[in-house]
Symmetry: C2
């Protein structure tokens, strides 16, 4: 049990998800149950809000409004891509000391977990008494130690529902369809497209993941084979696909790169990769109707498409973070485990170094041997994460009428 | 009252919508109530299915499955872009005669209504007794004589919910966002983005419609002004925006055009326009974080985002089509009227020539004088069409904490 008396601070880093506010609200409500927590502050725009003393007092929120914001996608406390170094952290501690902040909860992905690691280490080095906990969040689902990450289920549901619609659309007016899905290094979200398959000829017929090298001639052969068989072909492609030398296809195309503070190349917010692949098919196979959509920012913040299970787990991850800090008196990263396949979860606190800045990839057993699709094991893994009441497409089953003229 | 005895035929043309199957099911169920209708056939892939005698017998469907398909987006009977000429129609009549088809219901947009007009005229010229009815459907909302078109409300809801998410996302990690929305000649769907505005600083801050000439330097000045004021700027752009000479911006960019049988330039299925505008802002204003998404096919078939009101009206339009043909014994196009602003609808049968191949545009009173946004009149018009239980974003209202160090 932590006897540290002072304020708790919660903030959000990196890209938004549909359920990231659930974790903040989980922290805010759970922390109120501990008398040693004198107030719960939110930092605006992540760690940069700490530096600038840009705090709001969540203790003065109504529970009603907290619940409303919890149900709203994206980072309600706003976000940042800042990556603190030692100097940055020293300045954060000064602010934390001035405000008597003793509990720090940071909701984010790989980069944000690294921020918590640095803060935790710097706090120890500076002899500043602070509990620092990382709360997982990422639509990429690529945090080590986690069975899956809050935010993934809702984004996966968006991708699934998108491809359900694509299947129906592409059947009605036949052609080749490419959907470009987020996921820089990990293919989980792209793989989720496969959950859209219901009928034998449903797509996506081909799924290309960053875990496997992308080879243009193999790609063309795949598309040709599927199109010859079904008269349609729909394809899910990760924005992060790379050639055999590990060079992202998008970089090969765009020439000039845009990088953020963490050194990540800009992959989203452009339709370039989809258009490149579309041209490749038109030229390589002589097919005319080839369409590419880039799901872009819709997949992480589209209002009204979320996994209820994902939302509940994001809330719990926030609550557990507080309990680990207060009851457990420890720093670390909250990790979601799945002790039962179908389906239950549990939460553990793991050392920050095991998560910080690392990337988990799709395990081999989730990817088919050809490297252009997913396995039944992935389906079993992903299905519960989409939540309940996933919409289901239906087809007419009316019998064909015998021809009279064109017999 | 039509005493014509024979089969009814229903088919779907043009681009799918979320609720187009509702109309087919409305036809199938309503037609069963008339004893002179001996069976209800569906033509597979629109008029091309008639030519090829590719029929299914909807009379042998269960009501349960009809209802399931009614709730499924996209054209369950599949679609076509074929535009019948006189010869095409003559061949269709031969097939219709062979199968004793006396009632023809075609669900579609401008081009499909023109198909019905040709079929109706050719049937009269050929002395073939046939009732031909056009049932409106288009996410573009651009059919003459209609207050609004089935399919629009659901697509508008998608665009609204997408921009709600964009607002939240773009606030969290600030920048400029461009969302490219479908709508070749009519801006209704792009305008629907404005329904996402809740808070004063919510976007889209700028809305560019095909009804107004697009001017790059004015565009840059608009973005600059908004970005200076809010620190973010989100923009909704119609895929159909054209310069002062009426040349689509996408054509100017892409060089090579792709046209369908109706002479329409391909606008969708590529991210090129968004990327062009994104580059224009980066270069013109020196802003770094500029992102463009093209909503593409998701906006017309995304599974699970529909307007309940839209679905009910699409169903009614199908039912009314049958009633106009059978009780009214007339050819024509079903038109939706709105006798009461907030909110009721009624259906009328109007002559095909008043709808066929024509395009309705956004009326001037829906567009602001600057030509970069919509008016309150448009909000009043559009609000009920989105249906009930539209999700609503919420923000933290926690009070700011007084600074201690950086006072």
């Amino acid at each position: 049990m932590s006897r540290l008396e002072g304020k708790a601070l919660v903030a959000q880093g990196g890209g938004p998800t549909h359920v990231i506010n659930q974790s903040v609200v989980g922290v805010a409500l759970e922390a109120r149950k501990f008398p040693q927590v004198t107030a719960v502050y939110g930092a605006v725009h992540g760690v940069s809000g700490i530096l600038n003393e840009n705090f709001v007092d969540l203790t003065r929120e109504t529970t009603h409004n907290l619940e409303q914001v919890a149900d709203t996608p994206s980072s309600g406390l706003l976000s940042t891509r800042d990556k603190p170094d030692e100097d940055y952290c020293q300045r954060m501690f000064k602010v934390m000391q001035a405000h008597d902040i003793r509990y720090f909860f940071y909701v984010g992905g790989n980069d944000s977990s690294d921020t918590v690691r640095i803060v935790s280490e710097q706090a120890k080095a500076a002899n500043y008494d602070l509990r620092a906990i990382h709360i997982p969040k990422t639509i990429d689902n690529d945090l080590m130690e986690n069975d899956h990450c809050p935010g993934f289920g809702s984004a996966a549901r968006f991708v699934t529902q998108a491809f359900m619609g694509v299947n129906l659309d592409n059947r009605a007016l036949t052609g080749v369809y490419i959907g470009v899905v987020m996921g820089r290094h990990a293919g989980f979200l792209t793989a989720a497209s496969a959950m859209a398959r219901k009928y034998e000829d449903d797509g996506p017929h081909l799924v290309y993941l960053p875990e496997r090298h992308f080879d243009t001639s193999r790609f063309l052969a795949d598309v040709d084979r599927v199109y010859s068989k079904y008269g349609v072909c729909s394809i899910a492609v990760s924005e992060g696909i790379s050639d055999k030398d590990g060079v992202p296809m998008i970089t090969k195309l765009m020439g000039v790169e845009e990088r953020d503070a963490h050194g990540n190349v800009q992959l989203s917010g452009t339709g370039a990769l989809g258009d490149l692949l579309s041209d490749t098919i038109k030229k390589g196979l002589g097919l005319k109707r080839v369409r590419a959509d880039t799901f872009g920012y819709l997949q992480r913040s589209f209002m009204g498409c979320r996994s209820d299970r994902d939302a509940r787990e994001a809330r719990e991850a926030g609550e557990k973070a507080v309990q680990f800090a207060l009851w457990g008196d420890a720093d670390g990263s909250v990790a979601i485990r799945r002790p039962v396949l179908d389906y239950a979860v549990d939460y553990e606190l793991v050392p920050l170094t095991r998560v910080a800045g690392k990337t988990r990839h799709m395990p081999d057993e989730f990817i088919n041997p050809e490297g252009n699709g997913v396995t039944e094991a992935f389906h079993s893994y992903c299905r519960p994460l989409l939540g309940t009441q996933v919409p289901e497409p239906h087809r007419f089953r009316a019998p064909t009428v015998a021809k009279i003229l064109n017999r």
